[in-house]
Amino acid sequence: MTITPTAPPPVLVPAGTTARPPTTRRGLRAVLSRLGGTVINAVITLIALLWLVPTFGLFIASLRGTADNSASGWWTVFAQPSQLTLTNYENLLHNQNVLGSLWNTVLITVPSTVLVVVLGAFAAYALAWIDFPGRDWVFIVVVALIVVPVQVAILPDAKLFARIGIYGHIPAVVLFHVAFGLPFAVFLLRNFFIGIPRDLVDAARMDGAGEFTVFRRVAVPIAWPAVASLAIFQFLWVWNDLLVALVFSRAESAPITYALREQMRAFSSNVDVIGPGAFVSMLIPLTVFFSFQRYFVQGVLAGSVK
């Protein structure tokens, strides 16, 4: 589903008159547009601040010591800035558990993303530009698979992975993520590939280029924004996942979400242990988000059926 802005048609006016912009504004609209700017801006600022409070609170809490966190709220920091300390983060740097799981997260997320993008791009191209019988049905099945819940595949895949000996290891997690990331990837990229002008493809083929070359030289460069959106979306999706990690990894191969969850179970809501960890786990996604915001948003919008 794409929303394309349409060019505004010219304003029609009866012959003999001139188009007059509505200068008189009535009723509520008049009041609103007069107060309008300031009030709405104030309300919007308030809402934005409100939205930031939870994350901000966690951040401040992660900068306070255990005693302070149990005794008083993080907002007291403004009256007593001396409470702030980096101890929790220092401890985090020495916490092999958390550091190891951060590395695991990288080991899981990067291959997943790369594989999904590569396999998805090839498949999407085939579905867009290579004519073969049953192509449309394949695409329908792919679209159908997007919403399938992971639960229906967890148990059989666990057995399969166990049989080939990778259950509990990183390859298992990666494979599962690739499998469930493919439908959306194919959907997104295929829709994009379809939009490539036919002449470009035909011209390349006329020139005797093999399909693979057409793919590499024509399709991919044009579809780059979509590929970027997909990559970022997939990256964050896998980085933030918990359920798949819970099922398919063990302590040694666990990503950070799993590790933090274990810590929560052990230490209940011990904010100084979990807070910094959670915040560090947020750093990468937040960096990716702010750096590639447009791509991420587009990825989410396009994927708004997952």
């Binding site: 709220g73 229906v152 148990l155 359920l243 809501s269 807070g275 059926v305």
Partner: protein
């Protein structure tokens, strides 16, 4: 012609090559497992015996599952609607306002973090203690502005010698009080730091009338005589004191900085001196957000925090694609702002709203991470949802048959959404 035919075959082979890996992965890890899961759901817990529909029957008759399904229903009915409406309102509010982009960024940011991080964040927000959780801090502060805190919560008489009563009724003197003899009202059960710093050593007020002293009958380190104001024991200022006679309230006053009080106009006696209960009521402690009663609403609240930005961005995109003329025409025709909104904007933006709604419904049906992380152990049963139940049954109880049945249930629940998507796709295809 032959060359074309050969190229076509080549192309088809290439097609298979391009498509192959993806199809292979999907068939092996998604397609086949779906069938296998259905198969498992018809078998016993360890997968050996065929039990037909037994698992499904057990599943639907079990209280746990029914409760989980009920929760999912609540989620599906409430969460997507609230989020979509919030997104719509926010999008309309911030339309053409300069701050719109900043707001979108701030609101969308929670989508980037994991549900685990969101869970940790909201554990802190929803913390029951007003000294830790910001939500309860605000609520308690607001509550206390309208009904101020009692000065000495938890204070009580040491024994029934001089004072009797309960926290609910307040305490009154056992022996009748007469003017001329200062009444003694000793209290214990108060941490020393709850006595105001400026409280002076306990002493009855002097002067005519009915007098007495209210003090903390506790000497640090022990010693001292019970029910007697000893050296070092401090009075309790600010206590509301009432004088009663024959069942009627005669006068009210407050204890001063030494804990002493005086009713100047009262002479003779006998009076009963009473310390009303509102001196000692426990402070309002806020709401138990993460308790079994409120856990699902609390969870939905955090869900809204995460997804409102998504709804807003999507609806904003839809709004910006609206033809301006339709709106202007309606306005020129004399429609009020509200009518314009209801009759023109909403119908035109409906497709976007539907997409948002359907996405959220699918998302909510499968919800797992947030519930698993945010709900504390004691509230897990109340917060249970189908996806969580499936996880528990499969991996804690190792009942693969029932777990698969639950997975199939989940699949059936998202089936309508799947068909909706397919229909939308076929309608849109060129």
């Amino acid at each position: 012609m032959r060359r074309r035919a050969r190229m076509d075959t080549e192309r088809r082979t290439l097609g298979a090559l391009f498509l192959g890996p993806a199809v292979l992965v999907l068939a092996a890890l998604v397609g086949y497992p779906i069938i296998y899961t259905v198969w498992l759901s018809l078998h016993s817990a360890d997968g050996r015996r065929f039990v037909g529909l037994r698992n499904y029957i057990d599943m639907f008759t079990a209280d746990e599952t029914r409760h989980a399904i009920t929760n999912n229903v609540v989620w599906v009915v409430v969460a997507p609607t609230v989020v979509t409406v919030a997104g719509l309102i926010l999008a309309v509010l911030s339309e053409r306002v300069r701050m719109a982009t900043a707001l979108k960024t701030v609101l969308f940011m929670p989508m980037a973090i994991s549900f685990l991080a969101a869970g940790v964040t909201f554990r802190l927000v929803y913390d029951e203690s007003p000294d830790r959780g910001v939500l309860n801090a605000i609520i308690v502060a607001a509550h206390d502005t309208f009904s101020p805190r009692s000065p000495y919560p938890g204070a009580r008489p040491r024994n029934g010698d001089l004072l009797t009563g309960t926290t609910d009724t307040g305490y009154r003197t056992v022996d009748p009080a007469v003017s001329g003899t200062p009444a003694r009202l000793p209290l214990v059960g108060l941490a020393p730091d709850r006595v105001p710093r400026d409280a002076a050593p306990a002493a009855a007020a002097t002067g005519a009338g009915l007098t007495g002293v209210v003090w903390l009958d506790f000497t640090r380190g022990g010693g001292g005589v019970a029910n007697q104001p000893d050296l070092g024991e401090r009075g309790l200022p600010g206590v509301t004191v009432e004088a009663w006679q024959d069942g009627r309230l005669i006068a009210t006053t407050r204890s001063d900085v030494t804990g002493g009080f005086r009713f100047p106009g009262l002479t003779g006696g006998p009076y009963t001196i009473q310390l009303p209960a509102n001196n000692f009521t426990q402070p309002y402690a806020g709401v138990s957000w993460l308790g079994p009663g409120l856990i699902t609403p609390a969870l939905i609240g955090s869900y809204i925090w995460i997804w409102a930005g998504f709804a807003m961005v999507l609806v904003s995109a839809g709004l910006s694609a609206l033809p301006r003329e339709a709106l202007e025409a309606a306005r020129v025709d004399g429609a009020s702002e509200w009518q314009v909104f209801r009759r023109v904007t909403v119908p035109l933006v409906r497709p976007v709203l539907v997409v948002v709604l359907v996405t959220l419904i699918i998302n909510v049906l499968k919800i797992f991470d947030l519930v698993y992380v945010l709900a504390p152990e004691s509230s897990q049963p109340s917060a249970n949802v189908v996806a969580l139940q499936m996880y528990r049954v499969s991996f804690n109880r190792l009942d693969y048959g029932m777990g698969s049945a639950l997975a199939v249930l989940l699949f059936i629940l998202v089936l309508p959404a799947m068909l909706f998507n397919i229909r939308r796709l076929r309608r849109e295809r060129p």
